[in-house]
Amino acid sequence: MANSIPNRQVICDTLLELAKEDRDIMVLASDSRGSAAMATFANAYPDQFVEVGIAEQNIVGISAGLAHSGKKPFVTSPACFLSMRSIEQIKVDVAYSATNVKLVGISGGVSYGALGMSHHSVQDIAVARAIPGLAVILPADRHETKKMTEALVEHEGGVYIRIGRNPVEDSYESEDYEFVIGKAVTMREGSDLTIIAAGETVRVALDAEAALKEVGVSCRVLNMHTIKPLDEEAILKAAEETGHIITVEEHSIHGGLGAAVAEVVVQHKPVPMRILGIPDEPAIAGKTSEVFEHYGISAANIRNIALDLIGR
């Protein structure tokens, strides 16, 4: 399960492979080809690569124009700037005009650590999710990132993808499972409660499940890799069958995965819920693990919250 390949590298490797056959795939970067791990793509396919310089509004506008002309642009830029700096271009040029642009936010969440709030993207899901027609995806590990990238090349329409900076421990043992945009993956079956996670917190949720199993609690784990369109069916089934839900996310507690799940739960099948994430403050400086620990995004804390939630 120890893994040394960051998800951004996986996206580059997968696109490199697919671009051999598909000359419409294009990668755009904003002085970010190194951070996006796209330098090899830029070197291998200079005709399918566009450098725009430090200009995140421009990168989205240009990619919308490319998509309008039949290309399949993958915009790679730090998640913080891509999701917020250019949000109007995303709303109007990508979503409203229904262009086929894949927006890959790299180094998302708190993975830029001590670079501070300007570099964290923990409002991006809230913002992206409010835009009609824009899909939102957070892959859990390298296996899922590969399957997601393949699915994205096939998928027609605007998507915001968020990945972190550093390698993450595997959540899947292999690529041998079904990845469908908009369908949650049941990582563990369980009946006492359900933990719903996305992106890098899936690993934390799985560790919490293991800790709960030790004390005899049967915990379901849902990987909600697509936050929009949301798999409402899986959420309602979890509410129905397990009666309690905890969401865990590398995002503000406002407007993210937890909020999305709560909107469904509260309207259709109210059950006790807890939302774990980054509180409403500029996140503390530190490595991802230190920040997670500080805010209780850890297996031990989730275990305690779960026991409290189910009254044990």
């Binding site: 310089g53 200009a55 913080c80 001590a114 670079l115 400086a285």
Partner: protein, 281 residues
Amino acid sequence: METSALKAKAAQIRMDLLTMIHGAKTGHTGGSLSNTDILTALYYRVMKIDPARPKWEERDRFMASKGHSVESLWCILADRGFIPKEELKTFSQFGTRLIGHPNNKVPGIEMNTGALGHGLAISVGMALAAKRDNKSYRVFCLMGDGEQAEGSVWEAAMAGAHYKLDNLVGIIDRNRLQISGSTEDVMGLEPLEEKWAAFGWNVVSIDGNDMDALVNAFEAVPTVPGKPTLVMANTVKGKGVSFAENVPHWHHHVPNDEQLQHALAELSAELERYQQEGQVR
């Protein structure tokens, strides 16, 4: 401070920031080294500031629009007594306020930056307020050259000229490199001086690692009544550390033990030379 003393000070700040980056194992080395002379001229000679009163109303304002080069700024704020020197050891560590970008929880920092292309607009606002309030302070805004690709820079440039802000000084750290390589390869900027002039700014082009030139350019402000000034500071990325000079890779690279020793030796030789130069005068 005399220019020979300023030069010695810049060498010392470079040593401090390298030591700090080496200790923290993270930092934007290249761009901090390129702008150390600019900051030294401002903080030790040109700007009206008072470390005992960081919010003094009449102070000149400094905006680090290229916020990633905060390392030189942290070291200068510590050296000038805005913050304890000891605190430099917390740079980028868990829970610190000395993060990798300017943070206004730290005395001496006006505004939080880090996303490029924000500083000049904020500076226009500050300079406009000074005009409206009949205050005499000036606003110095340091930008990167790669940063010039952000459209917001040019929106602010237009406004600065429109409002005739001769109390506003834009400085471009023209080191000709950004992360992905040369600025002219990534997104060509030339003719950059002509662009700023066409936007209504008074453009002064200097060697941005030459202390006398920096002091002369900054002290002349307001240079042309009714016009903001753009100081094109032609610098060397990684300046002062031979193996880092003009090497793109050093944008965000940390010296190892051996490299640190090598760099400190080079810089302390420089420091001594400027100290002697000062005594001869």
